[in-house]
């Protein structure tokens, strides 16, 4: 079973900036772990320390108890898709992958396999210089998958992908993390950093939330969301009757703009009341509080830049 363990992980850059501050976390196999935090929270620095590209000032982050730099064949253990990773524009996609395959001792048949896996089978002979950002991102993923690693690390992988690409990536990551679960395997570790919280909410099973270089929260997404507010909204021609019925069952409910809003109720409870009272329903929406709202709560509103989206983000916090 693959493990990733960070203990007291700290990075102070040359200018005195404390990017990561005594960070402890564990990443578990079998599901997708979201690495979340506002800009400057230390996500990228942490991932780069995990991959041996940045040297920690103190503390450690270990893969199966070993530093990345001491892994005998790192490409076979860990695959990484990083933002600032590059390509020689004049080199073809296939040749780019062959370079890494050569170092890792991976047969070239796997290169074509990986190109096909990410949907670049026809573009393998083209120069990367002419690739769109989405294609480069796919090529990076193909490179990360060359060694069939049991740990996959992706820094903002959705950047540059179109909606179909994002949906594909979401399904792929979920599948990759849990491919052998239930067949005697523990699954793989997949860590995804993201600032797209609504997307992350659809993808991740576990979350690690960073704020200001420190751990703000860690755990199963559903557990973290369970403690948050939820509400049920119902559109019905019998609005007044529904509010009465809900109050009769000691369920809070108010009429707001012709819509019945029941804060803190479950869809099951409201639904049962409606059937019992034979109330016609036109639309019913059950919502848990969003990951966004939880995120702002955990990170203390960091990342709310005045003049840019502050109002927009404020709206999230006053979720109906």
């Amino acid at each position: 079973m693959p493990t990733i363990q960070a203990r007291g992980l700290t990075k102070r850059f040359g200018g005195g900036v404390l990017a990561v501050d005594h960070l402890d976390f564990d990443a578990l196999p079998g599901g997708v772990t979201g690495f979340l935090g506002p800009n400057g929270a230390g996500k990228t620095t942490t991932l780069r320390m995990l991959l041996g590209l940045v040297t920690p000032t103190s503390g450690s982050v270990l893969i199966d108890g070993s530093d990345y730099r001491h892994l005998p064949r790192p490409t076979m253990r860990v695959g990484a898709v990083l933002e600032a990773s590059g390509f020689h524009p004049a080199r073809t996609a296939r040749n780019h992958l062959k370079l890494i395959a050569t170092v890792a001792g991976i047969p070239f048949t796997r290169v074509d396999e990986c190109l096909e896996l990410v949907g670049l089978a026809d573009a393998g002979g083209r120069r990367v210089g002419g690739f769109s950002m989405g294609m480069r991102q796919r090529l990076e993923l193909a490179r990360a998958l060359l060694g069939r690693p049991d740990i996959l690390v992706l820094d903002e992988p959705a950047n540059g992908l179109d909606p179909q690409g994002i949906a594909w990536l979401r399904d792929f990551l979920k599948w990759y993390a849990s491919e052998d679960v239930g067949q005697g395997g523990d699954g793989r570790i997949v860590i995804v950093s993201s600032h797209l919280l609504s997307e992350a909410q659809l993808t991740v099973d576990d979350v690690i939330v960073l704020a200001g270089g420190r751990l703000a929260a860690q755990g199963k997404l559903e557990d973290l969301l369970a403690g948050t507010k939820r509400s049920v909204r119902v559109k019905t021609p019998d609005a007044d009757r529904l509010v009465e019925a809900l109050h009769g069952a000691h369920i809070p409910a108010v009429l707001r703009d012709g819509v019945v809003v029941s804060e803190g109720a479950t869809a099951e409870a409201v639904g049962r009341i409606m059937v019992e009272n034979r109330i016609e329903v036109h639309e019913m929406v059950a919502s848990t509080e969003s990951l966004e709202a939880l995120f702002f709560e955990l990170t203390g509103g960091e990342g709310m830049h005045p003049g840019h989206g502050a109002g927009l983000m404020g709206d999230y916090r006053q979720a109906p």
Partner: protein
């Protein structure tokens, strides 16, 4: 380590800039070499076009242009390491092999090999040029327009009568000069690639490293050598020249002070390895962000 070296070799042959460097070497050799064979001015004795055509000195002067390949080798060495930073391929490279010292070692090996290849290409081009010059020389002798033939005391009749012998003799002179200069040029070109690689490892910025490398060799060295020849002989360019002139001290005309050939080789290795070591222990150890 073998896989690393293989990957580095592959890196070179999968980008066009490598082919451009080799192409430039061939073009420079042919253009300048051919031009020089008629021009008045050359390093060895300073009168390439004036010395008797077909003589040993004439070929030595023409072949002297072949060592310009070392400038391209310097650029090759710089590109091998700074290209990784410029195109940010350093991230996947260090992900696949996190022990950076091994990556630099592989690059030094491949850079040396690439430099030697440039040296071989320049010398082969030189050989082709040499045969062309021999053929032209014999032709001009036979058609009676040979200044050199006359200077060598060979009458037209004699030339016509003995043109086979004359061809063999000129070829032999050319070949002898070629064998004298070839090992030094090839080794010097290879070592210059290491020097460039060390420079690139230390400076990291591609443009800066190329400007500093070429500027130092072409401008600073020339000035220093002219004013303080005892310092100049220890600089990279003069050290490489010392390699070539191993057996040809007579051609210097006493104008240039040079180290013994092995001294030149040692100096070049020292430059390359010291710079690469400094680069590895400072720049390359830094965080890749």
């Amino acid at each position: 380590m073998i896989r690393l070296v293989e990957s580095e070799v592959r890196k070179l042959w999968t980008v066009w800039s490598t082919y451009v460097l080799f192409g430039i070497v061939v073009v420079i050799d042919l253009l300048f070499g051919f031009g020089l064979s008629f021009a008045r001015g050359g390093r060895h004795g300073g009168t390439a076009g004036l010395v008797p055509h077909g003589s040993a000195l004439w070929f030595a002067n023409v072949f002297a242009v072949l060592d310009n390949a070392r400038l391209l080798a310097l650029v090759l060495g710089v590109l091998i390491i700074t290209g990784e930073y410029r195109h940010k391929t350093v991230t996947p490279t260090f992900l696949a092999e996190p022990r950076r010292g091994r990556v630099v070692t592989a690059k030094l090996g491949v850079g040396f090999g690439g430099g030697l290849a440039l040296g071989v290409v320049t010398m082969v081009t030189g050989l082709v040029l040499g045969f062309v010059l021999v053929a032209l020389k014999v032709h001009s002798c036979l058609t009676g327009f040979s200044r050199g033939g006359v200077q060598q005391g060979m009458s037209q009749a004699l030339c016509r009568a003995q043109h086979g012998v004359y061809f063999v003799a000129t070829t032999h002179t050319m070949w002898h000069q070629w064998t004298l200069i070839a090992p030094g040029v090839i080794l010097g070109t290879g070592l210059f690639a290491i020097y460039g690689l060390g420079l690139g490892a230390l400076l990291k910025n591609q443009v800066v490293a190329i400007v500093v490398g070429l500027g130092f060799t072409l401008v600073v060295e020339t000035i220093v050598t002219a004013i303080w020849p005892t310092i100049g002989e220890y600089l990279p360019g003069q050290a490489a020249t010392a390699l070539e002139d191993a057996h040809r001290t007579g051609f210097n005309g006493g104008t240039v002070q040079l180290l013994p050939w092995w001294g030149g080789a040692v100096m070049l290795v020292v430059y390359g390895v010291v710079l690469a070591f400094l680069g590895t222990s400072t720049t390359l150890r830094s965080d890749i962000t």
